[in-house]
Symmetry: C2
Subunit: 499 residues, 2 copies
């Protein structure tokens, strides 16, 4: 080749030579529909005409982008850590200064600009452990089992990375809910693990039925080695909150089948339904007695991005890992050390969440007011969303008990299904594209999260302001009715009930 080469040098990296595991990754939350939304936004900015004046992005749980204001105390602490000269400023409250000073003392050279330990700043890990003990009413938490992360996603992928091994039938199977948050399917594809689906029960408020876990496990055993059970509670995209009994059943199953449990609990502060309560997997495990608490391997994930803070951009998060083999833990530390450390400003933000102002501190009243305002508004919007969507013929929406999404089932007339097929497109993708083009509303097709064959959904966030959300929901309603008419549904529009 080096001898008689022609002028055109072939590319080294093409779709043919690209890592096939990268090719297999899908991530609908920022997928084609969102790229299309960006294009439409640009057209509008450049003065182009559309039947609407703005694109409303209800595709991603990005609270501040939808107008939610930051929690003042959190930003004060992070600003003080960033620019410590402000510690002398009378316009910052003393409790914020105390927090900042404590965090800076945990940083090399008292600077946010130093690398932290790969597991995170020690005193922040200690604050997190104290927070967990309080949250779980005294269940012990050891700060040496706490790892700060770059958002929850980073922690989830790190743990999955440890767990993937074996070839052929011995390859690691990872059990994930369907519908799921597509980080899971993406990470499984990237790592070349085997995705094992268990279906949530849509007819029963997206509850997790342990019989379905058994079914999925037994079926998977034929072709892989299921070793991991992922749970998202409160649910994303499905918004359900698991009962204590359900968590017990799941943990008993994991115990029996020797599964490593990954509990995605990033929405632990986001519970709205009055009859629901957040129970951490760790606490329930503890209450099942020492035989369980001392043996089931469990990783739990939390984040600055959700809750009442919505600080996505800081990429803060943590994981607590219990019953991890000590040698494996050393391997995890080694693996994390290659990326040096999670962003320290994000660690500081996490610290504020686990160590908020106390009743005797100057910032308490404002902090509480801001927190209650965010969570109250989310609860109202959860209800509003369910109410409006449920009343639409051909839409079925479970209650949004928690998290920040609705995942309504939509009836798509056979004619539209045929049309989508002809276009080589999922029917709910066709639906969401039409919705975007006609109304400017950007939601994500259910096919990006997984759903029972023959059912169709979309995920939307409940994050827009109440006024905007109402408009959005009414536009969805009007669009849906029009869509049904245009595709002249001969049969009565009816969502499928599950077999």
């Amino acid at each position: 080749e080096a001898g008689g080469r022609v002028c055109v040098r072939a590319k080294t990296l093409t779709m043919e030579t690209l890592n096939p595991q990268v090719k297999a990754v899908e991530y609908a939350v920022r997928g084609p529909i969102v790229i299309k939304a960006g294009e439409i936004e640009r057209i509008l900015q450049e003065g182009g005409k559309k039947p609407f004046t703005e694109v409303i992005k209800a595709n991603i749980g990005d609270a501040h982008a939808m107008g939610q204001q930051p929690i003042t105390f959190l930003r004060q602490v992070v600003a003080l850590c960033t620019f410590p000269e402000l510690l002398d400023s009378p316009s910052f409250p003393e409790d914020a200064k105390r927090r900042a000073q404590r965090i800076l003392q945990g940083c090399g050279g008292r600077s946010l600009g130093s690398y932290s330990a790969s597991q995170g700043v020690d005193c922040i890990r200690q604050d997190i452990a104290a927070y967990i003990e309080q949250r779980d009413q005294g269940v012990p938490s050891n700060w040496e089992n706490i790892f700060l992360t770059t958002g929850a996603s980073d922690g989830i992928v790190s743990i999955l990375r440890l767990l993937v091994s074996g070839e052929g039938r011995a390859r690691t199977g990872v059990m994930i809910p369907i519908p799921q948050y597509p980080l899971y399917s993406a990470a499984i594809a990237e790592l070349g693990a085997v995705q094992v689906n268990y279906y949530l029960d849509e007819d029963n408020c997206w509850a997790l039925d342990v019989h379905e876990l058994h079914r999925a496990y037994q079926a998977a055993k034929q072709h892989c080695q299921p070793r991991v059970l992922c749970i998202i509670n409160p649910g994303n995209p499905t918004g359900q909150v698991q009962s204590k009994k359900c968590i017990e059943d799941v943990l008993h199953f994991a115990y029996e089948e020797n599964l490593f449990v990954m509990a995605d609990e990033v929405y632990q502060e986001n519970v709205y339904a009055p009859d629901c309560e957040f129970h951490s997997f760790k606490k329930v495990l503890y209450e099942m007695g020492p035989e369980y608490f001392n043996s089931v391997e469990l990783a739990s994930f939390h984040s600055t991005s959700k809750g009442y803070t919505g600080e996505c951009g800081f990429r803060g998060g943590f994981m607590e890992i219990v019953n991890l083999d000590p040698e494996v833990k050393a391997q995890l530390v080694k693996l994390l050390s290659v990326r040096l450390c999670p962003p320290v400003a994000g660690q500081a933000a996490m610290d504020v969440i686990v160590n908020p102002p106390q009743p005797d501190e100057p910032s308490f009243a404002q902090f509480h007011k801001e927190k209650a305002s965010v969570l109250g508004a989310l609860a109202d919007k959860a209800k509003l969303t369910e109410q409006i969507l449920s009343a639409v013929p051909g839409i079925k929406c479970n209650p949004v008990q928690g998290a920040m999404y609705a995942f309504p089932q939509i009836f798509i007339p056979p004619r539209a299904v045929e049309e989508a097929k002809a276009l080589g497109m999922q029917p709910d993708m066709l639906y969401c594209l039409r919705l975007l083009e006609e109304t400017g509303i950007c939601v994500v097709p259910g096919s990006g999260f997984g759903q029972r064959e023959g059912t169709y959904h979309f995920r939307m966030t409940i994050l827009p302001s109440p006024e905007k959300l109402k408009v959005l929901l009414e536009k969805v309603r009007d669009f849906h009715i029009k869509f049904l008419k245009e595709n002249s549904a001969l049969e009565e529009p009816q969502c499928r009930v599950q077999a």
Copy 2:
């Protein structure tokens, strides 16, 4: 098993079931020697006795931890972005406020707490492209080829991830310098690619000789498909700065052999030797003419962590990618979108570096003074380090032309080599452990970076304050002489010259 199970539940995740690619990862910069240093620090804190009063961590390029002060303007801008109420404060300069306002306008909801696009904030990408054009004296840079990253490491691993494919002899080979920064070997192990070593010429100031590239390439072709060529310039751990001629040779080689070039240029601001100058791979490629500039696939990496800012904790960085196949670029965006976005505060820090105060702006004088002070001190320390180490019998230290490390060769007497072997340890690991235990100085054994068989080195940073660095170097000298005596070197201590 579920029937007659006994009480002890086996762990799911053990050293036997751990991902073997994780097991294969090594990362000496935070390896056993650093863990040991942490233990000794704790002993000292608890009042324990050691022949020294403090541990000096010269193992990692962590400037602020070694006492370097942050650049005021950078921190002002990030603090303003974090807590925008400060935009009304008279104690912040107008140019910092303008930067902050511009960055916030690029953020959803004008908040650092929103996710950015996966590639980063548009206006920051534009600033980076403008900076590159200026740095490269007019060579065009397209902002759509700029990707913000979570430190440079994240970008490097993302690009490597794309490039790994094939099985057996078709498996991707990644050419890396020896000695190398161990992120590369770690990422190659984690991704299951094939590491292809090319050796830098220690006798020639760690220069890269293109004949050695040819040798390594031809040898590797027997068992893998070399597709990637990684370059670190200025060098880590070796501190050399490549000449323009050398870069041309390398690019010509990459062109001929169809290699994807990854240029780790995070030390581009850290050039100290008066006869050296930083040349970006991109600029040199441009000057080689359109046949090269329009075809060689090149990714270049930069970071907030090094240079004169040393902002490691913010995890800021970017990469510029040229000649990437457009479909592959879409795949890269998809892959990055799974992790949502790099930390936005780190993106803001990066923006300050590429868009510093201009001569007509109020912060210019202070900014320049601070920058010159950091870089001037580093240049002095680079010289001091070489001078003191070179004068030690049995130590050979190349000039520290750039970056922030010395990588001296140390003569280890055969008796100590034998002792290390008996302990199942690399000889330079034994040396560094003794150095740590006797002096409190923490440096990293050369074996963690790779070195020619039979030669031994360590890497130390030049980051301690001048006073502390002098003490450190003198302690190293005294230790080395004592070490030679104790191991009664019968032969004249002499570093090996290369074959």
